[in-house]
């Protein structure tokens, strides 16, 4: 059977612009955030940080032969993480130089990067959120519907076996994409912003409800850190899916807007009616 290429205008300009601003923001926010974490390499629950009761800690420990080993402790279990966490590149530091901005220990500069790009991330997110609601992009393309949810088992199996939809089906997000995108935009992103704000003593004074909501300033810091790794997890899966379901086509559609669908029949362009 002869496959012709049908061109579909898949991503509007606000979506594409917002997406690439987010790529830069998240890269900088994660790496500068790890720089800030390195200034105090432990996480706690509650309002205080009692040094003898961390949930997670990354330390450099001198062993018998005088060598330093990086020891990461989480929930009472200790792991030797030398080379990555605790000790890396012959220096004592939490996360390694390749994972932080700037690469050396420099808290003041890490904060500058973090707080500037945090503003960009929030403004970009607010504009995108408003656009998604007002243009009905949220309702039409992102929000999972009842009929989507009924097909979740099949979609899950297709994802796990890297079988990607083709033809007409590829025009729309599948239910797992819808759940992931909606969850990240309207769940994870607000969570990471609010837990970040809960670390601000001024915001805590103005909105003490944040401390109650997250269980204290140190809990908020811990949730902020976990949310960061949830973002990293999302990005890893997202990039894997993008790469395995037609990298060029996916990248082109997020750059120019045009997505190519192989299907029987004449090739033609299709612009959405809205």
């Amino acid at each position: 059977m002869e496959h012709n290429i049908r061109k579909v205008y898949r991503h509007t300009i606000p979506v594409r612009l917002g997406h690439w601003i987010n790529v830069v923001c998240l890269l900088v926010l994660v790496m500068s955030g790890l720089q800030i974490f390195n200034a105090h390499q432990a996480l706690y629950w509650g309002d205080r940080s009692d040094r003898d009761r961390p949930i997670l800690s990354i330390r450099a420990v001198k062993v018998e032969n005088g060598e330093r080993r990086g020891i990461t402790r989480a929930f009472g279990h200790a792991f030797d993480t030398t080379g990555v966490l605790g000790v890396s590149g012959d220096t004592t530091r939490g996360f390694p130089a390749w994972a932080t901005i700037p690469s050396g220990k420099w808290l003041a500069m890490g904060r500058r990067w973090h707080l500037f790009f945090a503003w960009l991330f929030v403004v970009n997110g607010l504009i995108f959120g408003l656009y998604a609601i007002l243009s009905r992009h949220l309702w039409r393309d992102l929000f999972p519907k009842w009929r989507d949810l009924r097909g979740i088992g099949r979609d899950l199996w297709n994802h796990l076996t890297f079988r990607h939809p083709t033809g007409e089906e590829a025009k729309h997000y599948n239910v797992l994409q819808k759940m992931a995108y909606t969850g990240v935009v309207f769940g994870l992103a607000p969570l990471i912003v609010l837990t970040g704000l809960s670390m601000s003593p001024t915001i805590d004074a103005g909105f003490p409800v944040l401390l109650d909501l997250f269980g204290g300033r140190q809990s908020a810091r811990t949730i902020h850190f976990l949310a960061c790794f949830a973002f990293i997890g999302f990005i890893v899966i997202h990039v894997t899916m993008v790469a395995t379901s037609g990298l060029r086509n996916n990248l082109r559609s997020m750059v120019t807007g045009w997505f190519h669908i192989a299907q029987p029949g004449d090739s033609h362009e299709e612009r959405p009616s809205h």
Binding site: V28, R48, S49, W98, A108, F116, S200, A243
Partner: protein, 256 residues
């Protein structure tokens, strides 16, 4: 010919990854070291101050905790025993001869002994100290509200900032100092503390007097306060950015 695009893809991916890595490491490091980029990043500080003051009330109070919440160990960051001889002499006689000097743009310059300060109205608050490094500790602080002291010396209308000159010196013999604007200076929880957890303020925590400015990060809470000066601008004081840590690149407005 099925394998051709696959190699392209692999090459492309590794190229993108390498480019991103180079951008992130070399690019960000060199950007951090030039003049204009950190300055641009620093513009966020003004936006943060504007937004936080817009969103929170002028008199919004930092959360006050109960005795049960006190930290058993309160870390003493930064200087914990100033070596400067004048300070050491005061410490040796229990700060009995020590006096806080207040001057600059004021109607009545004055000095206050510890006894004078303890005789003024006092405020006790159990609050959370949030260090810029990320940790938090809770302690009980007692001291004289800064607004009560300012009421005595009466700042001139031209005064915009309150500068705290401290006894501690770093290894390069540079004095520690800090500053607040009048909005934070007159906040009810901004106090000059002489007691911590019901006892005389220990040297490690800034004896005889330290600033508490509860809605900002720990480095604003100047220890070893010796002299207070009211000024109209930070120019000519230290590095001109309003504080020792500010001169090292930290934000003057430390609300987050």
């Amino acid at each position: 010919m099925k394998s051709a695009p696959r190699i392209d893809r692999r090459r492309f991916l590794s190229g993108v990854t390498q480019a991103a890595g180079l951008f992130a490491l070399a690019g960000c490091d060199s950007l951090s070291r030039n003049d204009w980029f950190p300055h641009l990043l620093g513009r966020a500080e003004g936006l943060t101050q504007w937004a936080q003051r817009l969103l929170t009330s002028r008199v919004a109070m930092a959360k006050e905790y109960s005795e049960a919440d006190l930290s058993l160990v309160f870390p003493a960051n930064g200087e914990s025993d100033p070596g400067n001889p004048e300070y050491q002499a005061h410490a040796a006689d229990g700060f009995t001869g020590w006096k806080l000097e207040i001057g600059g743009l004021v109607q009545q310059p004055a000095t206050f002994s510890l006894t004078d300060l303890r005789g003024m109205p006092s405020r006790t608050q159990i609050t959370r100290h949030d260090c810029v490094e990320g940790w938090s500790a809770i302690a009980k602080w007692t001291g004289v509200p800064l607004h009560a002291v300012l009421g005595r010396i009466q700042p001139l209308p031209s005064a915009r900032y309150v500068v705290f000159h401290c006894a501690d010196l770093d290894e390069d013999q540079i004095h520690y100092y800090e500053s607040l604007d009048l909005e934070d200076a007159y906040h009810p929880q901004t106090i000059l503390a002489y007691d911590m957890n019901g006892q005389t303020l220990p040297i490690a925590h800034g004896a005889p007097l330290r600033l508490r400015v509860e809605r900002q990060l720990g480095y604003k809470h100047a220890k070893y306060v010796m002299r207070i000066e009211l000024v109209s601008s930070m120019e000519g004081i230290g590095g001109g950015r309003g504080g020792y840590w500010e001169d090292q690149g930290y934000e003057w407005y430390a609300g987050i």
